[in-house]
């Protein structure tokens, strides 16, 4: 493929993925309000459009039109930069995530991934580590006790759970033998015992790692039951207390985009990515993997929202003790056992 074709394909893919991601973020907000509403035995949004489907549009309009208030006592450069940092890092990790096999357009084989980096998993982990800055700087620059406390708690929580997040993924790496996300998915093809798919959670035996990953992901994205840094009853909204309108919307977008990224990584590593039953004419055969991928991501996001509606939140010392004293040794034990099994089998 020539340089210009590659660049054009990349630009189109980037535009498409950013558009899809932002729309998905908007509609995940709608889904959350509906599902949490149903869990609490009430309707969610129903007025704006059928089933409240135009609610995200109304919310977006509200955020744009609302007065963007910058309090006088904040540290202005960082106050304005922090939501930008949060959103940029949340949207960047979508670049290494593969959505399916390659499609054939106009005679060129274009993979459904913006770039297939050899160390794709490390890139995702690195960008997740950098996402802490948006929150820390937002809380500090607001010059407000509640924001500062929320930011300190949030950063400490995020860097503590990054460790168990990374360690739980290493078991998958040992099984797949490569850091490339496409390679990890391709190592999960096929079936065993006839009909059970060869996913890492079944055949690879990574179910413990899966639950460690899921729990650490809830802590990384600051969602219930780990959302003490932004809880309304504790800290007046924590690190985004002083933010209004578009900047607050950017924090919101960053949180939900992080959720989507984490669900994508969980799907790729544990649930076999786009592997699923495939059949039919060639046009269906190219679309069907993408459909399975989106279905699995939808299942994850639904579980996220389900847990949000069901569980209470952890106290801060319980949260830190859980991460350091329970999840970390468990992830290490999982790694040792996986490595032992792979070494014995080979």
């Amino acid at each position: 493929m020539t340089f210009w074709v590659y660049t054009l394909a990349a630009v189109i893919k980037i535009a498409l993925m950013v558009f899809v991601l932002l729309t998905a973020v908007a509609y995940i907000v709608w889904l959350e309000r509906k599902v949490v509403g149903r869990i609490q035995n009430r309707w969610g949004p129903t007025r704006v459009g059928p089933f409240g489907l135009l609610q995200p549009a109304a919310d977006g309009l509200k955020f744009i039109v609302k007065e963007d208030l910058t309090p006088p006592h904040v540290y202005k450069p960082l106050f304005i930069a922090a939501p930008i940092i949060a959103v940029v890092f949340a949207l960047t990790s979508i670049a290494v995530i593969p959505f399916g096999n390659s499609i054939r357009v106009l005679g060129y084989d274009i993979p459904l991934q913006i770039t297939d980096v050899n160390t794709g998993l490390l890139v995702v982990l690195g960008i997740t580590s950098m996402g802490v800055y948006g929150i820390a700087l937002a809380g500090w620059s607001s010059n407000n006790k509640y924001s500062m406390l929320g930011a300190l708690r949030a950063s400490a929580q995020m860097i503590s759970y990054e460790i168990s997040l990374g360690l739980s993924l290493i078991g998958v790496l040992v099984l797949a033998g490569t850091f490339s996300l496409r390679g990890i998915v391709e190592a999960q093809q096929g079936h065993f015992w006839g009909f059970i798919p060869n996913w890492n959670i079944f055949h690879g035996g990574q179910f413990v790692a899966f639950f460690i990953y899921l729990t650490s992901a809830y802590a990384e994205t600051n969602r219930i039951p780990f959302d003490l840094p932004e809880a309304e009853t504790e800290l007046v909204a924590g690190y985004h207390t002083e933010y209004s309108s578009m900047k607050f919307a950017m924090f919101f977008m960053a949180e939900y985009a992080n959720m989507v990224t984490v669900s994508c990584v969980a799907t790729l590593l544990f649930l076999g990515g786009w592997n699923g039953p495939i059949g039919g004419p060639p046009i269906v055969q190219t679309i069907l993997p993408v459909f399975w991928f989106f279905l699995k991501i939808f299942v994850f996001i639904f579980i996220y929202i389900w847990v949000r509606g069901t569980m209470p939140r952890f106290r801060y010392d319980q949260l830190m003790a859980f991460g350091w004293k329970f999840l970390l040794p468990l992830a290490l034990a999982n790694l040792i056992i996986t490595a032992f099994v792979v070494a014995v089998r080979a």
């Binding site: 160390t119 800055y133 809380g139």
Partner: protein, 178 residues
């Protein structure tokens, strides 16, 4: 192409380093240092060291600098005050700076013709992992011990001193009598 990328990110690196020196508020210096580390990660990628570049972002820019920002936030470090500078520094410093600049320019203009061949040395995780666990196993284990010592040291040094209540016994005794 490699030269263009090297120059762009080299300029960003140097700009970040100079900004660290110029800024008075430590948080701005910390953010410039993060920019330096990120552009250094790109330079490592240009040299074919992809694992080192990823580790640079994850460990240096994503953990160590978070610790710095944390401490700056915790201690509420304000803008730096002006202490008296020394005249000798200016008197000796500027000529030596010019001397170093002349040396650098001379070395650039008389450089040897071997260039760094990108892509010929590939630092992929597998090879580095094999080396770390075979040839460099002893330093690896010693660094794990070093990290353990550092964790214990940091926890002990940063913990608040225990406050022993004074006169509690006499208070309790008098309370009991009543």
């Amino acid at each position: 192409m490699h030269l263009a990328l090297f120059l762009i990110f080299g300029v960003v690196c140097v700009a970040g380093a100079v900004n660290l020196l110029i800024q008075t508020h430590p948080i701005q210096s910390a953010l410039s240092l993060i920019v330096v580390m990120a552009s250094l990660a790109v330079e490592y990628l240009l040299l074919g060291a992809e694992f080192v570049a990823a580790v640079q972002v994850i460990v240096y820019a994503g953990a160590i600098m978070v610790l710095f920002v944390f401490v700056i936030m915790l201690l509420n470090a304000g803008e730096e005050e002006h202490s008296q500078g020394s005249h000798i520094a200016l008197l000796l410093g500027l000529p030596s700076l010019m001397l170093v600049g002349v040396l650098l320019t001379w070395s650039v203009m008389h450089q040897s013709t071997d260039s760094v061949r990108i892509g010929s040395l590939y630092g992929d995780p597998k090879t580095i992992g094999k080396l770390l666990f075979s040839q460099y196993l002893l330093p690896f284990e010693i660094t794990s011990l070093l990290i353990l010592i550092a964790i214990m040291g940091a926890v002990v040094l940063a913990s608040k001193p225990e406050v022993t209540p004074v006169g509690l016994d006499s208070g309790l005794a008098s309370g009991k009598e009543n």
